[in-house]
Point group: C2
Chain length 138, copies 2
DNA sequence: CTGCATCCGCAATGATACTG
DNA sequence: CAGTATCATTGCGGATGCAG
């Protein structure tokens, strides 16, 4: 599986031998779709601050449903970005943490979030401006 | 509007006076949801390589439908990340470009994509490993 | 406590056709 | 060329119940 499209030539031939997210059927693209979803970034960031248990994580990521948290964690684990360790205490204890592989991605995610948190005012201003122009039938 | 939740204290009091993506009702969170979708990153990266027209852009971002492209571009424009300029030639000519504000975000996006394109092999290996373990009823 | 299974409504997405 | 409008469909994501 996934033989052909990895390192597909086509739009840029600088380095070759790496995935091409711009090809719809490249595994890289599917990976991007998985990590660029509503919850992955937030979860990764929280996990980056240290190992944490399911419910604690659920509290930190405000608004996430149990289902989505569970589902996203499984996806991240499958991709090797997150590790899951079970300690067989009386009521079982499950802890999640970022893997070394996941840390690399986490850095970019963090940058994205930092950008969002600091540039929000400018974005809000742009929005207001856009909406005002729209209302002017302009 | 959006009075309370911006710069909500609660999980970290290091700097204060910036948004908190972890609060579900913070504008920052909504912004994150908008930019962390299936297409925004890809579109921003292509735009970062220089101004480009609608159909050319559609070709570069393989698999995107006109609707989603149009919709995502409008959203990015509203947030002030992308500029749209119309030249009234015979068949009208519309060109899109990244704004200075958008460039900051683009950098993070690019890092994310670079990570995905280069780390794909490790991720694929992790996946295979995970799936194998699952099949072992383990 | 952790988290999987099921049902289900609704919003996001895609294909198609049509307009300036 | 650059979209908008409409329709059909999918699957996200929430609520609830149950299991290890």
């Amino acid at each position: 599986m996934q033989d052909g499209t990895f390192s597909t030539p086509g739009h840029s031939d600088e380095t070759a031998m790496r995935g091409d997210v711009f090809a719809a059927d490249c595994p890289t693209r599917q990976l991007l779709d998985r990590i660029a979803d509503k919850w992955s970034a937030l979860i990764l960031i929280v996990l980056g601050q240290g190992p944490i248990r399911f419910n604690a994580l659920k509290q930190r990521v405000d608004g996430v449903s149990q289902k989505m948290l569970s589902q996203t964690l499984k996806s991240l684990e499958r991709d090797g970005l997150v590790s899951r360790s079970v300690v067989a205490t009386v009521p079982v204890t499950v802890t999640y943490a970022v893997t070394p592989l996941g840390r690399g991605l986490m850095a970019s995610m963090q940058a994205m979030i930092d950008w969002a948190e600091t540039r929000m005012p400018e974005v809000a201003a742009a929005q207001a401006d856009y909406d005002r122009r729209s209302r002017e039938t302009h």
